[in-house]
Amino acid sequence: MIEFQLDPASGVATYLQLVQQVHQALRLGMLEPGDQLPTAQQVVAKLAINPNTVLKAYRDLEREGLVRARPGMGTFVVQTLPGRDEVALARFLSQMSKLLLAARAAGLDSDDIEAIYRTAIRNVFAEGVA
Amino acid sequence: MIRFAALQFRIQAAIAFGALVVIAIVLAVTGPHLVTLYDTTVVPCSTHNDCSAATTALTDTDGPIQVFLTFLLLVVPALIGMFWGAPLIAREFETGTYRLAWTQGVTRTRWLSVKLGMGVVASVVVTGLLSLMVTWWSSPIDTVSAKPFDPLYFGVRDLAPVGYAIFALVLGFSAGLVMRRTIPAMFTALVGFVAARFVMNSWMRPHLIAPLHRVYTINGSSPLNMGETPAGFGVTATTRGILPGDWVYSNQIVDKAGHSPTTAFIDRACPLGHASAQANYQTCATNLAARFHLLVTYQPESRYWTFQWYEMAIFIGLAAVVVGFCFVWIRRPS
């Protein structure tokens, strides 16, 4: 069983912090299929957060297909995170680098590029923030 | 709700009933002696011709206890109003616990009914028992010396104290409800209760039932008072020795038409300058008796219980009015 921590200063929504910590634990092998996640009550008793937040995080994880809630028993890991496609990563890195070089050639410095990057991220992943 | 009200009330109730037990013991120890004294000295006194000595001896027995009991029954209703009535709700406001009490699954009206009901029952029991004990203990003395309508007797025997206690309790409670502070509510209860008792004693009770009249001819033993008055020399009738057990309002010297003697008539009928005051008095009485008689206005002793019931009913009625006010007040938009 894993234990959640909260970083109130991170500015990341509480339920997202929970989701990210489960992802992390799956990647690091701390959680494997069959393992149980702490119940909402246990999380709430430790972190003093709204139980709906925990349920929302678990619902998100369930939608991703990583966990499944079994009524009356708890929430269990059913699948670990798919391994990263190293080839795709490498291809994306080279495309990104070309894009950045083009931006620099157009006179943008790294701060400009970062602002653009942030806006693009927000536009693409906007639904994830809500 | 009753159990909770009892839980909150238990300390005050314990103090009151503890005091009652102590008093009961004192009276139980001293009371039989008074009865014996009465039976052995007062009852056979006429055969020994020493009745005045016997009654004086009896009425002087346990003097401090008599004074204490009179005082106790005078103040107990006021104490009930101050220490039971006033804090009953004012303390809840002061400590903020009304926010706890009134948000349980009990309506405010029910809360009020139970609290007041319990207070009233306790007040009736305490003053009723106390009055009963005092009335029993004092009965030998009362038989020989009591003036039943004397305010220091009437208000501290039988039923009246019960009415006073109910009224004082409710008055203290309502003051606490309106003022939300215990000390001012206690003070208000005291002032209000004393005022009500005073108004009743001085102005209301004499008018509850129309008094009776009795006519006496004037003779040498009539209670006349000769002397200087603010209006000059005058003769007045006193109530001394007249209808001892009754409540005598007045004794007047009047003629058939109801007029009092004029100053000129008095000057002629009652000349001073005889050899002795006794002779002055005799002449005066004889001359007055020719045209005037004494008119006594009074309440007979037989009406004592009627007045006791009236007294209690009036104070309970007042209490009911105050309770009605409390119910309206507690439900009003605050």
Partner: protein, 298 residues
């Protein structure tokens, strides 16, 4: 979902001062509602109206569909923890629990005794000798064990030290998880509410400034910064909540349901605290604007 708390034009006047004015709200069931505002904003008035300790001057209020304190059943469905958590100083914890069981139709004695046991409190201890945190826990226990559908808490943690505050909120959230009770919790401390609330009501100067689900509010509010410009040039669907300007730069906090497309703005998301503070300071700004006019009159 039905509303646990519904008000229409609700107002409460003390003398000439409005403690709460023209307040219209509909709070759905199943939420933990944060009622936030500075001291004296009307939070206590709102909660006391909801529990029937006060009666409205204007408008109406319904709690769980009924007028507050209208019947024993209605009173039994609402748990209330009053400010400073009053308790009968001379009564013991056990006697307080007896009170609860005598006065509430659905009292759950097991829940009550279990909680007191878990808290490590001695049932024979008098309430007068409890610490602030312990008394708050006792008050919460009394409110929970009556098995309410709605819990109303008036600044329950304001007077507690950080540890007791955390413990109290943990207990409260456990209850929410276990019993699914709706909660309205008032506080002037934003940090307390951030973790626990999923619904927010900001009350300032007797008025409701904003009310809604926290996630929706956070998604629809953005901080924009860029070259100085007049906020009136913004699109109609962007409502300015807070603004500050230097000679070159403008920083705005806007509310909009639409995406912000203007590339001249640097857009950053806002936090719960930003959101609350923006609405609180908005009230203060309006006051500042009003001041010169008042100065002329006086």
């Amino acid at each position: 979902m039905t509303a646990v708390l519904e008000t229409m034009g609700l107002g409460k006047q003390y003398g000439r001062r409005w403690a709460l004015h023209d307040c219209t709200l509909s709070i759905p069931a199943g939420n933990v509602v944060g009622l936030v505002g500075p001291n004296g904003a009307g939070k206590t008035t709102m909660l006391q109206l909801a529990v029937g300790l006060l009666a409205p001057t204007t408008g109406s209020i319904a709690v769980l569909g009924d007028a507050p304190a209208s019947s024993p059943a209605q009173l039994g469905k609402v748990g209330f923890v009053a400010q400073d958590t009053p308790a009968y100083a001379r009564l013991s914890i056990a006697q307080h629990l007896h009170m609860g069981s005598w006065l509430n139709p659905d009292w759950d004695d097991e829940v009550a005794t279990q909680r007191i046991d878990q808290l490590g409190l001695d049932p024979k201890q008098r309430a007068g000798s409890l610490s602030g945190g312990q008394r708050a826990q006792l008050a919460l226990t009394l409110a929970i064990a009556k098995r309410p559908e709605l819990l109303l808490l008036d600044e329950p943690v304001a007077s507690l030290d950080p540890l007791a505050r955390r413990e109290f909120l943990q207990s409260l959230m456990e209850v929410v998880a276990e019993h699914g009770v709706s909660v309205v919790l008032s506080s002037h401390l934003v940090s307390d509410l951030e973790r626990v609330c999923d619904y927010l009501v900001v009350l300032v100067d007797s008025h409701v400034r904003v009310a809604g689900e926290v996630s929706e509010l956070l998604a629809s509010h953005h901080r924009l910064s860029g070259l100085r410009r007049n906020p009136s040039t913004l699109p109609a669907n962007q409502e300015v909540i807070e603004q500050s300007h230097t000679d070159k730069q403008s920083t705005l906090l806007v509310r909009t349901e639409e995406p912000i497309l203007d590339p001249n703005w640097t857009v950053t998301p806002i936090t719960f605290e930003d959101l609350v503070l923006a609405y609180m300071s908005q009230a203060r700004d309006t006051k500042h604007l009003g001041r010169p006019a008042l100065g002329v009159v006086s």
